[in-house]
Symmetry: C2
Subunit: 722 residues, 2 copies
């Protein structure tokens, strides 16, 4: 790619971005679109437009995003989102500080070098260099004293990263502490998840076992326990019941609509997909089904609570200090029994994982790690295999009825272009879901933890495959000759390959932010889907809400792709400082646009009080380490005499990481006692707290929880509330 085609692609992206932004400015002011552009505000009962006026400056959202405080973000979207902005602004700060120093210093140094001219003379290379290369380290001669400037720049980059990420860690830690010490009553702060219960003695129920155990240790603060049950069956029935209820409302809505024209009662067929079978009156049929299933559900609820108890329980305490203490302490002499951990929020509790045993959890974890490792390293093999199978020729052979369509010229061209990559495209689209599934299979009990785990896996996948893969892969074949002559290590290979791929990654970053963030802000896709659904599918309020409900900000893929950009920009920051402004733009635009989305669009699905941060910080330092090691290799390739001056840097990074981990990390795994010992605003309503943990499929329709008597204990209800 030469300089002009790079400019063209950049220009195109920018134009797309401007168009999308204008589209957003126009669409977002229209009344009917408010649920797409302001769902978070509307769900919180606020006016979609601040001040209520709809006709306003099309760039008002920028002012609003910039003037919003961290507290606004916390109020609208929770601590996790606020932490994500700390992450964005930290990285932005790091890149701005790079740019301020590196651009004015390194660009002139590089531009006035003459490494490329010399190289061209000495080799017969057919000119892969381009105008951009003149602004990069590729334009510096080997052993040139100009390299000193680059060497010092690496130190500057490292020191800035250390300083800002330390500040950010302190800030996030304070955010977390403030959230945890809040005087609001939060149910999860009063509960502890206890797994690995030993077998019940004969003549004792599970409930008695748990209650007597915890009553003896916490005689005054133990409130009640909830034994975890196997809800598979009851969940299924409940799901069916809810489905029929939705269908009933829908049928009734259709009936009500049509009642103007004499009221034709909606009917449907009971067979497969409503295509065959007996034709029935929908409303009567659904009512029948609901009645039937409600009875079935009640029976199954009883059976579940009585007979499907598993070896774990949620234990409730009547003050949060005790719950925090219990979650951190060893209860049984054998570590694999009565293991207590903090209870996650009720909404993110993964019930099916709660009763996995201690060593099974560990074994599952290692198996998953191994599977992920295989996926990262060998994912191309099955995809290549599938690609080889799904050629046009095979398709025609296997599915002969497609022949007439496939043979059409236009379709043939498209298919020939895309079929080979189809498997890869589908794989990459499904990868986040696959990694989420794998992480869930590890046996993690909370949703936010699953997302953190999946996000880590996705990060390793992108960095290893996209960054290192593209870099090395791109030059592996071209430099095969030199490798044969002089076997290089991966590091120096990577180092050699970096400058050649600078333009590729520049374009990648630019595309990513202009097109990606343009789509993000304008929400074109959700808007179209919403309007289509509203027009042709949705009949009831609930269905409508489902159609516009925005979901959460989806860290599992967002954070790893930000991480990839950081890794790329860091690794190129000294080699080709031109990349820095693009990095700055990426994170500045990201901050601005996601601020708007966080305040107005996305609805958080959970609250983990900033537990994502240590992962982010670890990976920032990881990217820095990769950068330092690559630079060490690159300076070696440049045959710079003072390269060993860089050796302390990776060690410093490891030390910095170690100190951060020692100083901050534990407070992200556990709840510090000084934090939860703050006074509460009101006496906690223990029965409310207890009820909030009952899964919806087990809540009795009659509104009584007498049926819980069996599975859930009812001790010390009369006990003193703090």
């Amino acid at each position: 790619m030469d300089f002009s085609s790079f400019l063209t692609s950049l220009g195109t992206s920018f134009i797309i971005f401007v168009v999308l932004m204008l589209l957003f400015a126009w669409l977002s002011t229209r009344e009917g679109n408010a649920v797409v552009y302001y769902p978070n505000r509307m769900l919180k009962g606020l006016e979609p437009w601040e001040g209520g006026s709809r006709t306003r400056n099309p760039l008002a959202w920028i002012r609003e995003a910039l003037s919003s405080t961290e507290q606004d973000v916390i109020n609208m979207s929770g601590i996790d989102t606020a932490v994500y902005f700390v992450f964005l602004s930290t990285v932005l700060g790091i890149l701005v500080l790079f740019g301020i120093v590196l651009l004015p210093v390194l660009l002139p140094v590089a531009a006035t070098g003459d490494g490329i001219k010399k190289n061209t003379k000495s080799t017969t290379s057919n000119g892969t260099f381009n105008d951009l290369d003149k602004l990069s380290m590729a334009n510096i001669e080997e052993q040139s004293p100009r390299l000193w400037a680059f060497l010092i720049a690496i130190y500057w980059v490292s020191v800035v990263t250390f300083f800002l990420s330390w500040k950010a860690y302190e800030h996030v830690s304070a955010l977390r502490a403030n959230a945890l010490m809040s005087p609001e009553v939060k149910p999860e702060q009063f509960a502890v998840l206890v797994r690995d219960l030993p077998n019940v003695n004969p003549g004792q129920t599970r409930k008695e076992q748990v209650d007597s155990y915890f009553k003896s240790i916490y005689p005054e603060t133990f409130y009640r326990s909830m034994v975890v049950t196997n809800n598979k069956e009851v969940d299924k029935i409940w799901g069916e019941l809810e489905g029929y209820k939705k269908k009933l409302t829908r049928a009734e809505a259709i009936y009500a609509e049509s009642s103007g024209s004499e009221g034709t009662k909606p009917t449907h067929k009971t067979g497969f997909l409503g295509l065959c079978g007996k034709k029935v009156d929908s409303i009567d049929y659904y009512n029948e089904k609901i009645k039937e299933l409600t009875q079935k559900l009640e029976a199954e609820q009883k059976v579940t609570l009585r007979e499907k108890q598993l070896g774990s329980a949620l234990v409730f305490f009547n003050n949060r200090v005790t719950a925090a203490l219990a979650a951190q302490s060893l209860h049984a002499q054998m570590v694999d029994r009565w293991t207590a951990t903090e209870a996650p929020e009720p909404r993110q509790l993964i019930w099916s994982n709660l009763s996995i045993k201690f060593f099974e959890r560990i074994i599952r974890q290692y198996i998953i790690y191994f599977v992920v490792f295989l996926t990262i390293v060998f994912y191309m093999i099955p995809i290549g295999f599938i690609s080889a199978l799904t050629t046009l020729k095979n398709l025609r052979k296997l599915l002969p009825f497609l022949k007439p369509i496939v043979d059409m010229d236009a379709i043939k061209t498209v298919l020939e272009a895309y079929l080979p990559q189809l498997a890869l495209i589908i794989f990459l689209a499904l990868l986040p879901k696959f990694l989420l599934f794998l992480s869930k299979t590890e046996g993690i009990p909370s949703g936010s933890h699953v997302i953190r785990a999946a996000s880590g896996k996705y990060f390793y996948f992108t960095v290893l495959n996209v960054f290192i893969g593209v870099t090395i892969g791109g030059t592996l074949f071209s430099s095969l000759k030199t490798i044969e002559k002089n076997p290089n290590s991966v590091v120096s290979l990577l180092a050699k390959s970096l400058p050649g791929n600078a333009t590729f990654f520049l374009t990648f970053v630019a595309l990513k932010f202009f097109v990606g963030y343009g789509l993000e802000l304008s929400r074109i896709v959700p808007l179209i889907i919403y309007h289509l659904k509203r027009k042709y599918l949705c009949k009831t309020e609930a269905e409508l809400k489902e159609a516009w409900f925005p979901g959460d900000i989806s860290y599992a893929t967002r954070v790893p792709s930000d991480m990839l950009i950081i890794t790329i920009v860091l690794c190129y920051s000294v080699i080709a400082p031109v990349i820095i402004p693009f990095g700055v733009l990426y994170f500045a635009l990201g901050w601005l646009i996601l601020r708007n989305q966080a305040l107005k669009v996305y609805v958080p699905a959970y609250e983990s009080y900033g537990r994502m941060w240590p992962h982010m910080q670890t990976r920032i330092i990881g990217a820095l380490l990769l950068y330092q090691v690559t630079m060490l290799g690159y300076f070696g390739v440049m045959k710079f005499y003072y390269t060993p001056i860089l050796i302390p840097l990776p060690l410093l990074s490891l030390l910095f990481f170690y100190v951060c981990r020692k100083k901050f990390y534990k407070a992200f795994c556990h709840t510090a006692l000084e934090v939860v010992s703050q006074e509460l605003k009101e006496t906690p309503q223990m029965d409310q707290i207890f009820k909030s943990f009952i899964p919806p499929s087990l809540i009795s329709e009659k509104g009584e929880d007498e049926q819980f008597e069996d599975a859930l204990s009812e001790v010390s209800r009369t006990g003193s509330y703090v």
Copy 2:
């Protein structure tokens, strides 16, 4: 060393052992020696001889040792000693099970082989083999199918070790739990050591800071706190005072003794070592001094309590569950502040280490590890240097006044023989003390932990230097030629060297147990020292007690040397199964004789509730791993085709270690809550518990602790006792 000289050395050792045992039987029945042979019983207020009769079977101690139960050991010597016996009997069990299977199977297989004959034919070796070698793997041909027997034996050895060490871990864990749940009130179970206190706010005392912090977290269970002070000065004065008190008692005793002959008052000179200076009346002088120092001590106590407060404190709770919870939980949002750990027993608290800061502790630890590493690897360099300097010639030159003595023939011979090793001997004698000093410098707050740390260091020193050093060193030069031809890895070098050194280690083990345990049982050296002191030095009761006080069983050196024996016997168990009976004898005799010593002689200096065990178990598995890896190398050297069958074994060992650590270890670091939630026999006397932690130098003579008001808090004294 050929077979006959081995038998001679064995015979001599055995005769020495028998003589020492007879000596013991005779000496231990004499009234005057009771304090040397039965101090533990006497200090516990028991009759020295069971049943009170002195004239008895000289082998009665064996019967008593064998019939004693674990409970007897716990009563007389504590959990730590009982755990040491679990260790001894586990190792004994392992070795006996080896012997039962390996001896009848492997010896015939080896003896009927003809590897040595063949080797002798093919090489011109001048016959380093001997009769013992015929019973070892050295007598097996390369690639011989007989190697199958040895290969299966390695599996047997591993499985037996896994099984018995698992059983032992379970047993020790139960021992620890039982001891911790004891209904006796133990002061350390009610206290928590809190370090890394942040700076005090202006206008607040340290005491107020600590009290308000803990009162807010534990409003009902916090009792009181004791701020740690810098006791260096006050300890010094107190030490001087105690010294003068002792001298005074001594002078009075001398006076009383001499009063029969008209009563000459004892006098002494005040100058250096009592050799010069003014002559004074001792009793008057000491009384004067004591008066003076008492006043000084009181003043210094006040200053210490008021002005020398440091950044750590002991915090007391009025029930032990809360103390156990607090010791395991994170108190502050920043992990390096308010760090709480279990308080050690008052007697093993190392006051000077209590106020070392969080990161300083970590840094110190790594520095010490580095120093130990240097010591283990390079200790020969300074010793070689000193040895080179301290030749007879240099001695004569440097210290010319020694010339006439040094030139005497007899002395010259002795000096020439021992001078070169003098530095080494002194180094090895001082090494345990040096390692203890290093471990203490790490900043560890409890005495038992220092001993565990030192014992670990000593283990690595002995295994690396004695075992691997002797083995490889012995054949390094002789096999230098083969190394040049075919560079071997250390493992296969070790493997090759093992058979050649079998006899050396056989003799080593035999000497160690016959002579070592003979001396241990007969206590000849302490007996002679005691009698000498009693006759010539001791005048008072206190001095006499000091002369016979036996001290504790000194794990810091005892455990590592047992470990060395295990490592040696394990590594030779298959190569030269003849070593097994010697290993069995070592641990059987050790069990018997130390049982006697534990019940009757040694007085434990601390109680750590079996915390030494995980270290012992780790090192048993470590030795097994070393053995498995060496065997893998040795089978490789024997060119056995099925060697890879051994590869799963080291992995299995690592897995076993991992599972043990996961399942048991945490309960050895912390106190499990189910254990301390057991009921106490009586309401704890909190002021007694508090007072037991006051260091002796800070206890006021007046018996009031009003002076503690300043440093030690007095909150919630009226609080409810559980």
